[in-house]
Amino acid sequence: MLLTITYEAPDAADLGFLLHKHPDRHQRFPLSVGQAHVFYPVVEAGVCTAALLLEVDPIGLVRGWRGSDAFALGQYVNDRPYVASSLLAVAIKQVFGTALTGRCDARPELAARPLPLRLELAAVPDGGEADLVARLFEPLGWRVEVGRVPLDPARPDWGDAPTVSVALEGEVRLRDALRQLYLLLPVLDGAKHYWVGDDEGDKVLQSGEGWLAAHPERDLILRRSLACQRELVADATARLLDADDASTRATETDADAAPRVPSLARQRAASVLAALADVGAHSVADVGCGEGALLADLVADPRFERIVGTDVSARALERAAERLHLDERGDRARERVQLLHSSVTYVDPRLRGLDAIVLMEVIEHVDSDRLDALEGSVLGDARPASVIVTTPNAEYNALYPALATGARRHPDHRFEWTRAEFAAWTDAVAGRRGYRVEHRGVGPVDGALGAPTQLAILRREGTA
């Protein structure tokens, strides 16, 4: 990967002083991320270009990588050796560390003032977000040129590559230019190659001093810089705002003060709890409990004497156990709540004899030709007195502007049913298995399209 910095001025070779790198030498810097080289392709009257070339060793990268499953780094075949990424950001920090601080004893006045600079990055991943580079750099006073190439000239149907060449021109202090690259290259890249530690927020704030707080893409920058770790993002945002003027803050507070409509997920949980109360359930299984959002509600309600959560993902169950603090609870609480690794497509004798089984947003994750297995295990074998099923109402999708026609709400949804389709399934299943059906809606009801979530209560024949 290659970064060139071009400075046009009568004494352009002063760039060497500013970068603390001699223009007539090829200098090498062995770094953790690879081998960095600094050399000057151009040193002429009026113009000087410095180049930072980073040789990344993809094999070393893979072998040195521990812990994450980020696909980009999981393979020897990746774009890391070619594109300007967080690896280049690290190289900038380590190779141009003094320049980043803005210190230059030889030319202090040059370091302190904006200079006419042109930065060129040979290859920058923009993830296919066409205007992302401009959105990030133009607010900072750069003129942005983006060079696009086809992904493969032989495959015009594939369109442009998700990698672009970038040239930035502007009057910017060298210190700021480097700091902006340092912070924004990883934002463009999305994937951080190194562990995001708790002090990452400090690093971001330091590099963003003076320009980040007012940047229109501030939230995006923080979110991506901190690898989407919510607490770090919130913390950094708060500290940024503290350092900033009160007006920004007021806006934020106003937004927060708006009356909050409970999310559809909360409304759904409330509807399921109401349905459980209606059927008088004291023992209940949340089948497909995920990380235990509904379980937490069930645990809080003393009516439920026995609570079972099952999921097909062992990791989800681990998180559910953490969320419910099962480790710290007493024996009685632990006996009351049971987390089981299980699957709706297998018969599980451990689920027999319950008052109710909840299938909240579960059936749409099962291939439609496997629903007979779900039916067999839940209504055929476990046979609780009641089954409560919720699933999206596909008709209502028309009211989600962000959702293209025919698109589904979640990529893993195997289907989303209209009210008629859901009713047909529940009626057929109930008929075969000896249950009676009641349908309800969850969430704001549209006159024509119904509620966003549909809910069915199936009561076993012969039970009250």
């Binding site: 030498r25 040789e55 393979q75 050796p81 067999g376 298995r433």
Partner: protein, 856 residues
Amino acid sequence: MSDDAIRELGIPELSLVLLVGVSGSGKSSFARRAFGPYETLSSDYFRGLVADDESDQSATPAAFEALRAVASQRLKAGRLTVVDATNVRPDDRREWVRFAREHDVLPVAIVLDVPAGVAIARNAERADRSIPAAVVRRQAEAMRRSVRGLAREGFRRVHVLTDADQIAAVGIRRERLLTDARDETGPFDVIGDVHGCRGELESLLTELGWSIERDALGRAVDARHPEGRRAVFVGDLVDRGPDVPGVLRLVMGMVRSGAALSVQGNHEDKLARALEGKKVSTGHGLAETLAQLAGEPPEFRDEVAAFARGLLSHYVLDGGRLVVAHAGLPERYQGRASGRVRAFALYGDTTGETDEYGLPVRYPWAEDYRGAATVVYGHTPTVDPEWINRTICIDTGCVFGGRLTAVRYPERELVSVPAERVWCEPARPLAPATDATPATAPSTAQRRADAPTIDDVLGKRIVETAVLGPVTVREDAAAGALEVMSRWAIDPRWLVYLPPTMSPTNTAKRADVLEHPDEAFAFYREGGVLDVVGQEKHMGSRAIAVLARDAARFGVSGDRRGALYTRTGRPFLPAHEERAFLDRMHAAVDAIGLWDELGTSWIVLDGEALPWSLKAEDIIRDQYAAVGAAAGLALPRSVAALEAAAARGIDVSALLAATRERTDDAIRYADVVRRFGAPVPADGIRFAPFQLIAAEGGLLVERPHAWHLGVAERLAAAAPDLVRTTRSIDVRVDDPGSVEAGVAWWERLTANGAEGMVVKPAAGLVRRGRSIAQPGLKVRGREYLRLIYGPDYTRPDAIARLRDRGLGRKRGLAAREYALGLEAARRFAEGEPLWRVHEAVFGVLGLESEPVDPRL
């Protein structure tokens, strides 16, 4: 009651033996002499275990709890267990009788009734601990008072030893349970509920090849099979039918002569009680039986009473491989003796509910049956007998106008004759066994009886395979597989095989390549596999095609014609495209006459679906092509910058040379991506089958690869637009000329753009004792590997570092996955229950979730 004269004490070989005697009566030394070292559980010893002191009486409750826990494990495992404690009080013993019943074994008491004085003297001699004389006297008194009532307490065998010399000399004789007929190896004709249908019974015996012997009055009194087969009756010989005495005369004769065995049915049980003069209700045909017997002489009635009373609850036959019981028997009760074993065997597991006809609702125990023994039973009339998890109910309701059915064992063939007429109107209509009738418990209506349950797949599993013995699937691996299987895989009924991962050849000795045929040939040469075949490795996606002419063979209703799925069991194509694919494959198989040739209605084909972009278009575009584009942007600019610096006289020559090389590598890489990532042709998928895994009756993998490729060629001739052939070369690995030709073939192949080749033993599956030879080793081409190891992996420093690849783990995994996959297909081909097939397939997926370098 005293056994003074007896030299050997007979006890059932599976029983709970209670030693009864005061402290110092010599129980422990008797036990040491008479039983095995682990069979005796001494309360003293357990007090020591829990309290470091054998005489600490305060530790007694804890000691007994631990003792019971150990005894329970032993009895569950079918091991005789002796409890060495005083057991002098009825309360102590009562608990042990209950304990024995809970474990379905017989309680036995051996009483050491030595004079109190002797015991007291022995106690006094003990250095470690001594029990006061008063305590011993109290024990002796308690024992004396209660010992007479031991049989009433529930002990099925009581031995009392009073003489010290005898205690020191007497031996133990272990007796087989009456139900243990494991040394009877058949072959057997197991016959269903006769219910007094003598005519049909004679017809069925004749149909089965028996010759019937008659008395002077022409009445059937015995039967003999020319091949020495034995009949086993599942009970319910009597009631409801027209000629109960005739049936009994014949069956009793056969049992007497040794030609037959019979277990007791609930109707015999009730008849016995009636004939013993007990008050029983005479419904369900008993009244008619009694009326018919009234016409017989009293000796015959006495004989019937003794016969009916003497019948056993079940038989365990043929080395434990066959169990016959009237209403069936779960594994935990087989070969056991207790009231509930008998109740289950006679009446089944009733839920206590009754159905709309007033008949008991029965718990469908067979659906949960996971035992190794075949269980043949009757009791519940059904229209068509059906094997469910190695069990079969052969009551086909003869007396209700159905059929009388026998199953031939070990052949497992069903033979039946129709009823001559409806002898008795059924309380409820006869229905097929698996139909959703109100008669069966609603809990299992429409559930496939042998569907895998969560218990069949979760937890650490050891799967016994025919080719490799036991294969272990770790608990966390199984957990990982559950998610994949549940969320992505196709219906398990179609998932009868999953392919193994394939290991690369050992890393090449040559410096410029990672993989080379030399190492693959040498590998097999060293393993003694001299004839190998090199097969072109297609650049596509592994795909399994199941073709079925009759979906019912897969337990599926409807007209689905098979399935095409990936190596993790996901559907390969959307449903309508899969249907079109299957139709075309069927047409090809029809055309070459393969069904008849193999005598099958289904086959499983392992192959490669082409092109790669069919499944991988997204990853080719977003991952592989994107890397090429990034390199194309970055490297030429780096070269230009370096050239400019060089022109200024800066010495960047080494970096410039390296960067130019990388630029060339990137161009080669982009070519490889373009070649292997070619778009899907307008008419879609190609399929290159390289092996037929299985067909009806068994595996086909022990046929030579030449046969498999030959079939593929015939299929390709029949469907040239769909089926691709696989080029191959035979290599004799100990012939240098042949090896050289094999290497040259690979070089040409890869130079012309093929991915590489797979070297396999020419004979197919090659067994090595309890192990197998590697089923195949892949040798991938130098250019192709850029897709795996990166565009410039061929640079000397890179390739040197890549040589250390840790192949051993991959090899082991490949062999175990292969064994599991074949095991699944074998089980399916041999008609085993679905859960057995699924267990093995699930294991493949479990092993696949073990961490291995994905580039291998």
